[in-house]
């Protein structure tokens, strides 16, 4: 029988902080309720965990209990006509894609990795490159079942009047354990993508390209060279894409290279990042069109197992903000100037315009405006100082940060960015907690 056992090898994707938790990995749904009640009784309560792809401390419960949901990865029902899929919460998006692509369906919304669970995608209300068309993942959840720590299971649908559905979408696992959900899939004619890449010289060009492309394309996103300065500030490469219509429905075979050990920190310095950015920008060169499989388009980093080890034993910080559209241009420029001044480049500086599809979730991150995602190798003080400076810019602009990406999001910043927090708190499961939640509510 599966019970709780102490483990210290589970950590967030940023590889910091290290933790010690009482961990259980149930294999069948009937094991969940007794485990939930047992875990909720521990002093620091209980959290459900998935594939630990959240960067910060929202996916850990240091000193408390964690139920690893990945053993509960079964499909319950797949209607190959309507595209409705019901599954246990521990199933990965990768497993879903493997099932549904040959049947001519795709995830309506996907984050940049397929190694997240269905439950985790709901609890963080993830978004993708098609936010302007499809909104967040939570908009496509028709119903979900939630096991509260009193042992009772509630099934709520998207028209739920109690508010539990809205609290659970983007609710960071704090309203109970998501046990299963029904997802509306999207029909596709092909597993290939028709992709266009267009270099742009500055931020103004980005906003112009974004406005035009959001009207014409399902998927839009831009990579930014965040070490560029002056006239070149905000130069980058814009990508826009659609699902192709060539009729091939092929799942990518698994496998690929993996980073087996922590890379030494000296590999990542501002010179190597500047060189990378220069080469990347020059390789893109001119605008081009191509057809590629969905997999390298949506999940380029999934091809490199454990890419987080690239940042060495000190780990790294992800930072993702969204700011309102009225001030997006000037605020984004200010953030890029701050990064450039601090000479702390980021390999992955990603810029994207969110549309006006409202998230159902009370704590959901995406909102109308412009989102900038960055990662910084952890260099201690200087890195934290830069992040504080970015915080001030985002807060001043009335923006917010993404808890799933951020292990140091200050509580005041969280409260300021999430006005529905008090409403959310009424739906909190008293047995559930996380390192993140204790940090936000000392």
């Amino acid at each position: 029988m599966n019970g709780f056992a102490p483990r210290d090898d589970i950590m967030p994707w940023s590889r910091t902080p290290r933790t010690r938790m009482e961990v259980a990995r149930p294999a069948f749904p009937d094991e969940l309720a007794p485990l939930a009640m047992q875990g909720a009784d521990l002093p620091r309560g209980l959290l459900a965990g998935g594939l630990q792809r959240s960067y910060g401390d929202s996916c850990i419960n240091d000193g408390g209990a964690l139920i690893e949901m990945t053993g509960l990865d079964r499909f319950i029902c797949f209607d190959r006509t309507s595209g409705l899929l019901e599954a246990e919460a521990g199933v990965s998006l990768a497993a879903i894609l493997k099932l549904v692509i040959p049947a001519g369906f795709f995830l309506p919304v996907t984050p940049g990795t397929k190694f997240v669970t269905l439950g985790g995608a709901i609890a963080n209300d993830v978004h993708g490159k098609n936010h302007h068309r499809a909104g967040t993942f939570g908009r496509w959840i028709r119903s979900l079942s939630l096991l509260r720590s009193d042992g009772r299971e509630h099934t709520v649908s998207d028209d739920d009047a109690s508010g539990l559905f809205a609290a659970t979408i983007g609710g960071l696992g704090l309203t109970g354990i998501i046990t299963r959900a029904t997802l509306q899939l999207m029909p596709i004619a092909s597993s290939n993508m028709a992709v266009e890449t267009i270099p742009f010289g500055n931020l103004a060009e980005f906003f112009a390209l974004s406005a035009v492309s959001d009207a014409s394309h399902d998927y839009t996103v831009a990579w930014i060279d965040c070490l560029a300065k002056g006239d070149l500030l905000g130069r980058g490469i814009f990508t826009r894409a659609r699902h192709a219509s060539d009729g091939v429905l092929r799942v990518k075979p698994p496998g690929g290279p993996s980073i087996p050990i922590d890379a030494p920190g000296f590999l990542l310095n501002r010179f190597s990042i500047a060189a990378f950015n220069e080469v990347y920008f020059r390789l893109a060169g001119r605008a081009r069109q191509s057809t590629m499989s969905y997999d390298p388009f949506f999940y380029p980093l999934d091809a490199i197992g454990n890419w987080n080890r690239m940042y060495g034993p000190r780990g790294f910080y992800q930072y993702q903000s969204v700011v309102p559209p009225e001030v997006a241009a000037e605020v984004t420029a200010e953030m890029l100037r701050a990064i450039s001044d601090a000479r702390q480049g980021s390999f992955l500086a990603v810029l994207k315009t969110f549309g006006d599809m409202t998230s159902p979730g009370l704590l959901s991150f995406p909102r109308r405006g412009t989102t900038l995602a960055l990662d910084f190798a952890n260099r201690g003080g200087p890195t934290l100082w830069l992040l504080d400076r970015l915080d001030a810019i985002v807060r001043e602009a009335g923006g917010r940060l993404y808890p799933a990406k951020d292990g140091r999001l200050p509580p005041a910043m969280f409260r300021a960015g999430h006005p529905a927090l008090d409403q959310f708190t009424t739906h909190l499961d008293p047995g559930m907690s996380s390192t993140f939640w204790r940090r936000m509510t000392p």
């Binding site: 294999a27 499909f75 319950i76 099932l99 040959p102």
Partner: protein, 251 residues
């Protein structure tokens, strides 16, 4: 989903185990008809729904206590329900508690009862059925623990060793007759059976990796198959370490 006009019919004995479920998913994706036998019908129903969503042509669940049932008669009933039988996977077993088995004869005999006496009865019943029909595959899950006794799990290992010899013998008996019999010996696998063990080492594999070996073993390969294959070499070395050295080792 591949649905052939004559889908393969497979029976999985001990369908709730991690390796069994991963194997059943491979058969489901081929469009097979899958029979699931085990002691917890609610859990079998959960597995059956998953297999249907993955493309199984049909599923049948059988509520069976393997140690307390007449194997031949029960098997005949299952085959009738499945409309025939192409592959059988015997996947049930218990690891048991070696420390308890050291001092408690009943605990030791319980391990042997499930892993050898009962498994042997079902293996022989399946062998007779396959021999009568002149075709079909029997894959039995053994363990590398059956290749050399060591203090941490030798009662379990002894039962799996007995089962391996039995299957080898059936494979010999099948020569020129038509059916095939294979013992698959997995190394340490991350399943519910091993919950609570530290799994950091490079020797641990996923149930999916073992399932791929099991599925292939049903179609081709020798009567003894290691999962993954590198365990053949590891166990060849371990079997040949002199007892004077082996017994000083701590693993």
């Amino acid at each position: 989903m591949i649905t052939s006009p004559n889908p393969l019919r497979v029976l999985i004995l001990g369908a709730g185990s991690g390796i069994a479920q991963a194997t059943a998913r491979l058969y489901a994706a081929e469009g097979a008809t899958v029979g699931l036998a085990g002691r917890n019908v609610e859990r079998l129903a959960v597995i059956a729904a998953d297999l249907k969503a993955r493309g199984a042509a049909a599923t049948e669940s059988f509520d069976v206590d393997f140690t307390a049932t007449d194997a031949a008669a029960t098997l005949a009933g299952m085959v009738a329900k499945l409309g025939g039988l192409d592959h059988v996977i015997l996947a049930y077993g218990v690891l048991g508690d070696q420390a308890l088995a050291d001092r408690d004869e009943a605990a030791a005999m319980a391990i042997i009862d499930v892993n050898f006496r009962s498994a042997a009865a079902w293996t022989l019943a399946v062998a007779n059925l396959l021999e009568r029909q002149g075709k079909g595959s029997l894959v039995v899950l053994g363990s590398v623990a059956g290749d050399r006794g060591r203090r941490s799990n030798y009662v379990y290992g002894a039962a799996k060793a007995g089962l391996a010899v039995l299957v080898q013998g059936i494979s010999h008996r099948f020569r020129g007759v038509g059916p095939r019999a294979v013992i698959v010996k997995p190394g340490p696998t991350d399943t519910a059976m091993t919950a609570g063990m530290a799994k950091g080492g490079p020797m641990w594999v996923t149930p999916e990796a073992v399932a791929a070996v099991v599925r292939k073993a049903a179609d081709s390969g020798g009567p003894v198959v290691y999962a993954p294959g590198r365990w053949w070499l590891i166990m060849a070395i371990i079997r040949n370490i002199p007892a004077s050295i082996f017994n000083k080792m701590n693993f």
